[in-house]
Amino acid sequence: MKRQLAATAAILVTTALLATGCSGGGGDSGAAAGKGDELKGLTGVIGSKDFSEQYILAYLTSDLLNAHGANLTTNTKLVGSANTRQALIDKQFLGYWEYTGTAWITYLKNTQPITDPQKQFDAVAEADLAQNSVKWLDPAPLNNTYAFAVRSSQAKKLGVKTLSDVAKLPKAEQTFCIESEFSTRDDGWPGLKKAYGIDVPDSNVKLLDTGVIYTATQKGADCNFGEVFQTDGRIKALDLTIMKDDKQFFPVYQGAFTLQNAVFEKYPKIADVMAKLSPLLTTEQMQELNAKVDVDGEDPADVAKQFLKDKGLI
């Protein structure tokens, strides 16, 4: 009886191990081809927020660093920027990708963004290091800022290309879908209305959840213009056209890898390794990678691994 129990237990444990091994996705180190061992001894967890771009960035980072000798895992289970950031501050995460505009407004509690991307990055990096011991590595060129998108057919019909054009439309056509968050930020709706002189009744503005905005914009029943994120893969997939921010109102939401400063000081080579990846991540490149996940339904871990292989980084 006892032996039988032990055998059953052994089978169970083996199955469990196999199962975790199979479902581990790209989170585990192991298989990555070695590109160096300058990060030997570096262990920890790379985190992410809860959308595809963040998953891809997290896997890109852990796979790349692991190829240089680190032994990192990936945790993409947290929901919301606030929780992810808290996990970094609590040293639960070694690091994750953050956007300059988000950190400036949300964590560092400023209300006015800085227009110049480099100055905005410098200000964020300096303040975050001083106040929270969070180190910002050199940013990628990708700018995941806000934008307004409209069905391409409708854009042609209305003859609009820029947000200034939108502001000149008859009021009945000036209908917008925005997020609750966007509705109160200075760099969101209140500021945009002022900058472009948009003057519409509240009933022209629908407050929706991020995911709902894309389909609502495609349908066009709730609104013509939906607030979207510039790097989102669904913009192309749903055949939406972005209205050019011709007055450069929206701040820059440049992506950069942020990590605990203590870890950075112990392993300063992380910056050199990440510098091989970051410059490749442009807005267009990110849109393409995001579309693979959001539109084609591929696994973010696979998309990340394939990209790194194609670029010869792992």
């Binding site: 968050e181 109160t184 200075d186 709902v212 389909t215």
Partner: protein, 258 residues
Amino acid sequence: MTATIALPSAQSLRTRARAMTVLRLVAAPVIVVIAVSLLFWWISTLPLDSIEQRTLNPAYIEARIKEHLLLTFVASLLVAVLAIPAGILVYRARSAWVRGIFLTLGNIGQATPAVGVVILLAIVWQTGFATALVALVAYSFLPVLRNTMVGLEQVGSDVKEAARGMGMTRNQVLTRIELPLASPTILAGLRTALVFAVGTATVATFINAGGLGDMIVNGLKLQRYPVLLTGAVLVAAIAVLIDWLAGVVEDLVRPKGL
């Protein structure tokens, strides 16, 4: 060694019972008033930035509370109108099939996360008030349905037989005997549904149906905790007040002698 145990007199017991009733009636509103006053006092001491000022102002908060209450009450009314007759139907049909179907539907409604229902409906159907109502009704349907069925089933068969023996028709037995006797259970179900609806109405924010969820999501996403806290405390306050109000109504409409 002698010990005397003071037994409370009937008089003091009655006074104590009355005191308990008064306490029950007064406690909830008093606690709510204190909590909400403390909240607003605390917020008045904070320096608010421009993001917080856009939500933490009387006009905005009043509008969100109104939207929230409207959603809650219309949804509860719809639930009462739909679930009580459904409960009666299931009880009268006395068929395991009908019972199974309705209970399963109610269970599905309650087991499906309201956020999911709301977003799915927004994508396949439309956004706005009506969609939020559907999700709320689906979510609060089960307690009323079940309590109606259980309440009716609990009515003693001797009572019903006596009523039939007096020459009452089946419908008369239902309206004059069964429903009044089942009413405390049915009302308790409605009360649960109302409180469910207050909490669930927070997801209306995702589909342009407003409510206090606007403040909770806004405060959470932008890490403006005074905004988040105000939304959350107000939702809790409304839930407590509505539960209290429903309790008072229950006491008032309960048939005498029950």
